[in-house]
């Protein structure tokens, strides 16, 4: 690469990362350039690590960095070397590579597969390379049994660890699928320009994925982030608590203490906070459209439960039921939580869609005593009432009894009030916040949770 080419590559990479919300200053870019000079271009993986070390500031940024790096510093240019292959030959070689767990060979095969079978269209403006098409055609998942047999045949896998084998092979196949996706992106970028592909075709960091559009894998990733996030928030709450207890001087105790110094208040006595912690009530819409959001938030609150003297959680679709016990036992099986709640609690009456009015009314009526002057209530949901009565008096009633009521809405603010959304009506009675992704949620929770 020429010096100009290199500089251009680097600024392109930095621009794409910035477009994904990574804050990268000039200082880091200069460091990255020095890293490139010190490392050279002979080993692409070292270059990758060097640029990551200089440009990134946190672990969560890495899943965005890697695919963007792959576009700006691609493994190769153009189509792979070698003769075009047929499907069976490719599957044979893939089975062998999976058996040997040979990542480099799998990468080579991914390139061949995309080249041979991933192309579509026949005009320069509309054609491209599709990983989906490649994988549909190659169907690597159907190699599982074959790979298992050949690993067993090689021996060395008898005994206890044999039970791990299937999952391990699945992970290898999953890795191959990712290689195919990366290769398809690389080929498309060659045609359409990498700047555009880097912005459009690279998924955002998990904490910026919209709850409403998150896929299964992304939700699983979010669930894994619950414990670390909870720890982070717990320290933030502790800091807020410390700050709140600092500074307020207990006048009475200061004067009493001053008797020994002849009435001169030498040592101010700081007021100790009452040790009682606040109470929390969660009302969660768990209907299909917003369940990803509710499940995540419930897990997060459960992980934070020792910050509060009491946490009660209620779930609803169009009927409402308490699910606190399910949640207490739910931490051991987070991915099953949503299903269990929907199986074991009574959440629907004679139809299956959300009805905020009925559910909120049921809460006010049956569980009114769950809310008192020390309680902060969070309502989670999109406020889409399916055209039924929003039951504003019930919300007003809850708001009067509680210390605070917050409503977290996973919909974009601009959507509030469109169609059957009663969001603006509710927002007049209680403080409503847009909460579209984990990043917004953790900021809100850190700020709004009572201490």
């Amino acid at each position: 690469m020429t010096a100009v080419g290199v500089a251009e590559r680097l600024t392109g990479l930095v621009g794409a990362l910035r477009a994904h919300g990574l804050r990268i200053g000039t200082g880091e870019t200069v460091d990255a350039a020095q890293a490139m000079e010190a490392l050279g271009f002979a080993d692409r993986e070292l270059l990758r690590e060097g640029l990551a070390a200089t440009l990134l500031h946190g672990t969560a940024q890495r899943p965005v960095f890697d695919p963007v790096f792959d576009l700006y510093f691609p493994r190769g240019v153009g189509a792979p070397q070698g003769q075009p292959t047929n499907r069976e030959d490719l599957r044979d070689r893939l089975a062998a590579a999976l058996t040997a767990n040979d990542r480099a060979q799998m990468g080579q095969l991914a390139a061949e597969a995309v080249d041979g079978f991933g192309g579509y269209g026949n005009s320069p403006t509309s054609d491209g390379w599709s990983s989906h098409q490649t994988l549909e055609w190659l169907r690597p998942q159907t190699l599982l049994a074959r790979v298992r047999t050949s690993i067993r045949a090689q021996g060395g896998n008898a005994g206890f660890t044999d039970r791990l084998l299937e999952d391990e092979i699945r992970q290898r196949i999953e890795g191959f699928r990712r290689q195919v996706a990366a290769e398809a992106r690389r080929r498309v970028a060659e045609r359409r320009g990498r700047d555009e592909i880097a912005r459009r075709a690279v998924a955002p960091t998990a904490d910026r994925v919209d709850f409403l559009f998150a896929g299964r894998a992304q939700l699983a990733e979010l669930r894994r982030a619950v414990q670390p996030l909870a720890r982070k928030l717990a320290t933030r709450l502790a800091a807020r608590r410390r700050r709140a207890s600092r500074g307020t001087i207990d006048l009475r105790r200061t004067l009493r203490g001053s008797l020994s110094t002849g009435g001169v208040p030498m040592r101010p006595v700081l007021r100790r906070r009452r040790p009682v912690r606040p109470e929390l009530v969660l009302l969660c819409d768990v209907s299909g459209s917003v369940s990803g959001f509710s499940d995540f938030t419930m897990l997060l609150v459960q992980a934070l439960h020792d910050q509060f003297s009491k946490v009660r959680v209620f779930a609803f679709v169009n009927r409402l039921d308490e699910v606190t016990p399910l949640l207490t036992h739910g931490t051991a099986d987070p991915e099953g939580l949503g299903t269990r709640i929907r199986d074991e609690a009574t959440l629907t009456g004679w139809h299956g869609s959300s009805d905020y009015g009925v559910a909120l009314g049921e809460f006010a009526e049956r569980y009114g005593d769950a809310v008192g002057p020390r309680t902060t209530v969070f309502v989670l949901g999109d406020a889409r009432t399916n055209m039924s009565d929003p039951n504003l008096p019930a919300v007003r009633h809850i708001a009067q009894r509680a210390r605070r009521v917050y409503w977290l809405n996973p919909e974009q603010r601009s959507q509030w009030g469109t169609g059957d959304s009663a969001a603006p009506d509710y927002a007049e009675l209680v403080e409503m916040h847009e909460c579209r992704n984990a990043q917004q949620l953790s900021a809100l929770v850190g700020r709004l949770l009572p201490i």
Partner: protein, 285 residues
Amino acid sequence: MFRSVDEVAARLAEAGYLASPAVATTVFLADRLGKPLLVEGPAGVGKTELAKAVAEVAGARLVRLQCYEGVDESRALYEWNHAKQLLRISAGRDESWDETRTDIFSEEFLLPRPLLTAIRGDDPKVLLIDETDKADVEVEGLLLEILSDFQVTVPELGTITATRRPFVVLTSNASRELSEALRRRCLFLHIGFPDEELERRIVRLKVPGLSQALAESVVRVVGALREMELRKVPSVAETIDWARTLLALGADTLDETVVRDTLGVLLKHQDDILRAAAKLDLDAV
């Protein structure tokens, strides 16, 4: 200090640390660019160990500041030796108060703490600021100052500037988000769980008597546990502990009984143990 990334890896290995390409590359760059290295990652993946190994390789003294909630300037930077000052004052030589004061605020009465120690003197040093996330935000401000200028101002003595900058390693478990400003000063390195091959080599290095075959099984089981949704998945430290336990028990292969009986070495929560036992098809624990 190093000519190439390979040399970093080779010399760290001699010091008993097996570096992944990411670790070796970042250590190489931290040395080349003269920047502090911020190492983040789960507990027990060798963050602290890395700093120790770098010190050994560099023939440098390791100066360690262990952070905890409540650590302050007098623990991190310096403190006056009040007891000694009082003794000196009451010894009351024949001199004016001004003379006494000049004397008791001299180097002799200064107790240097790690941050000051690390920038004084000409010998090579590695400054390890361990578990930075445990310290309060105020200490972060202090670190920021020192890592920017490598100088410390002691009002009574003047400014002390490093004649030789230490190699700085900060570690964090990310229990608290470190400030953006501090991150910007540093090269960033995430150490995650090693890949299978590397972990096997670590286990065999740290637990010499273990057979190749058992090391492989151990690492595979640990890998499977890390794929489960557990409260706390086992780290490298636990893998090593488990391997040691198996060796002590004289086990030469894994079977249901031995795994079931020793799962507690890998997993610390009872519900994790139950869950893992079920997923691994062990009979009731």
